[in-house]
Symmetry: none
């Protein structure tokens, strides 16, 4: 009398991948509702329609889930950056398009910055060393990729120069975002002296800083 409706177990790899993905999706949705901390495993499991224990069949720890999400996000972002280099024009235009790509990515992925700023103090602290290694390796390879693409488009630059700029770009984003992230309840204070001078306007500052960073390095 068992219904055919839904397979209760993921037998083959594609089913497993689908289940893994449903966990990631649930985690994303919940994190988006409140980025002030990681949601609980039980809430993720329920959102995904699974039991708590099942989540642990796919991820060793809760942080591993979110490191996977962060991995996804970085991969998406990197792909978009590589795409910029396929139709190369001038350095100036590249910097502009890089900046606007970045900003629109942050707009469409509001979870990215809160998550990225958790990477080092939270996520990597509770994930198996090999997984952390894979994450770091992924980042390094993508940056390498982009560096190579960049060299194809602008052959007169040094190998590694673009990669280094990407690193600094990432650092700037992380740092600036953390400095300007104010809890909602604290926002009123922002209008008082002396905060207006001293808290960065994230997007404006980012735009300016990236221009300085890239043009300063590449125009010489």
């Amino acid at each position: 009398m068992r219904c055919i409706t839904q397979r209760l177990r993921a037998i083959d790899d594609s089913e497993k991948a689908a289940r893994r993905q449903s966990i990631l999706d649930a985690a994303k949705a919940l994190f988006l509702e409140d980025t002030s901390g990681l949601p609980s495993v039980i809430s993720i499991a329920r959102k995904a329609g699974l039991a708590k224990g099942t989540v642990y069949l796919y991820f060793k720890t809760k942080e591993e889930i979110f490191l996977a999400i962060l991995t996804e996000d970085y991969e998406i972002l990197m792909v978009e950056v590589i795409a910029l280099l396929d139709n190369p024009s001038s350095i100036d235009e590249l910097v502009d398009s890089l900046t606007s790509t970045l900003i629109s990515f942050l707009d469409t992925h509001p979870r990215f910055m809160p998550l990225a700023s958790m990477a080092s103090p939270v996520l990597e602290q509770n994930v198996d060393i090999e997984i952390v290694g894979q994450f770091k390796l992924m980042l390094a390879e993508k940056i390498n990729d982009i560096d190579e693409h960049f060299l194809l488009a602008f052959p007169h630059f040094k190998k590694g120069q673009c990669g280094s700029l990407l690193l600094h770009t990432n650092a700037l984003i992380l740092g600036l975002w953390q400095m300007q992230s104010w809890p909602e309840k604290l926002k009123p204070l922002l209008n008082q002296f002396p905060f207006n001078t001293v808290v960065p306007d994230f997007k404006k500052d980012l735009t300016l800083s990236l221009k300085n960073l890239w043009k300063g390095s590449l125009s010489s």
Copy 2:
């Protein structure tokens, strides 16, 4: 007839401050032993020779303790930076001394970077909004102070320019540190391709970036 030993009760404000400090000291010591996460309240209490309840007389949450430590650290750092401006010379020398001051501060305060990178994703999430406000206000005021001192030493710059540079400096430090912080166990990987190109050498990179940042902005 004054006792040299530690008083058993903190009666007046200075004694209370001293006891508060002893909690901070215990917390610092424990965090230094393992910066991968915050130590437990009970371990802090024991290290300070106090009962668990006593710790909660002085701090509402564990995170409040560490935000206080971070506040201390930022204040120390800012004082050192202000001191640089008392004997002004050239901008170039200032940037050099700023960089070396910063790097030696990080060397003598190994807890600073791990703690600072927890500020936004961890500490501020579990501290009363007013305390977070005080922390942010303190930072803003210090930056303002430095900006004013800077203007006295170099009157031809714009008000706020130095403050903005400090913000970006802080952002760079935070971002670069988070990107280069590798768990001890992962260090072997660092020597493999392609990480050598792609993981920043913190101090070298910081030195270069700060030079670019400050000189690019101030020399024009």
Copy 3:
């Protein structure tokens, strides 16, 4: 420059008694606000304008405070009962006046029943054995007194008969009150079947039961 206003320390016995009484008064007031449990010592101290430690100079435990209050209440009640016997009439009238005295006492001392029902399970468990002894002795003596007064007014009864009735009266009050004490939030349930039959109407039941108890015993 010290003002004469209020003596800070209770030097002689009358001052001590006054301070003790101010603690009792504060405790009464607070208990009246919420009879669902004993108020905290700190709240009593604040209400009395004293420091927490001072309360412990006058009472060894919190429960001792409330046993003292209960003692006061029983003494007041017993005095009222004795007064009834000063103008003796018939047994019937005595029972009636006893009942109405009792009910008006409960009306004017709304703390009495909640407190009396704590005596055995709460108060006596955390008070020095001697103090508990004094409390029990006081009750026994008062009952004895009343018994003697009763014998003067109605000489044809047996010694101890009235005392025994008082005991049963007290037992009935305690038991009936505990059975009919419903938390405010539960009151709606009272109107549903089958509670209406089964939860006693305190005053009506008490009146009837006392009549039965006393007249049954004394009219034979």
Copy 4:
């Protein structure tokens, strides 16, 4: 192949009930060791061979555990009372058998009176209002049941008369017990004047009072 040993996990409802019961049993045992107060949750957990957290899976508060025990006890008692009515004889015999049933119940359940006297001042104060409601409802229903059984056996009485007597019986037990419960250490005092007259001898008094109560009401 069924294991005889206790299962490690309570999967189905009967196993959950068994685990719940094991917590109740542990709590009973500990309370019996010292009825002057409720044992700590951790001690109950350890006695039951469970983790503290597990206890909280089954009961929301410590008081809920003991209200459940009291519920059990009342149910047992009520069943025994109903059984008396299955072989009805005369009212006189009923009252005698009721009394002896009651007294032997108190002898075999020494925790009952201390616990029952905590119901209103302690247990009901820290248990969810719905649970308290269930407890009260159970009592009311059992009393109703008994009343109906009584009517079958003795049809010439009024509906509710027996229920009312049960209420008063319960009140008498509660009240008398609380008045005669003397801490062990205070027992020596009992032999001194004037306590001997004035402290009820629980069993004797109860027997007499019940006779009066029931016969007075039912014989008319």
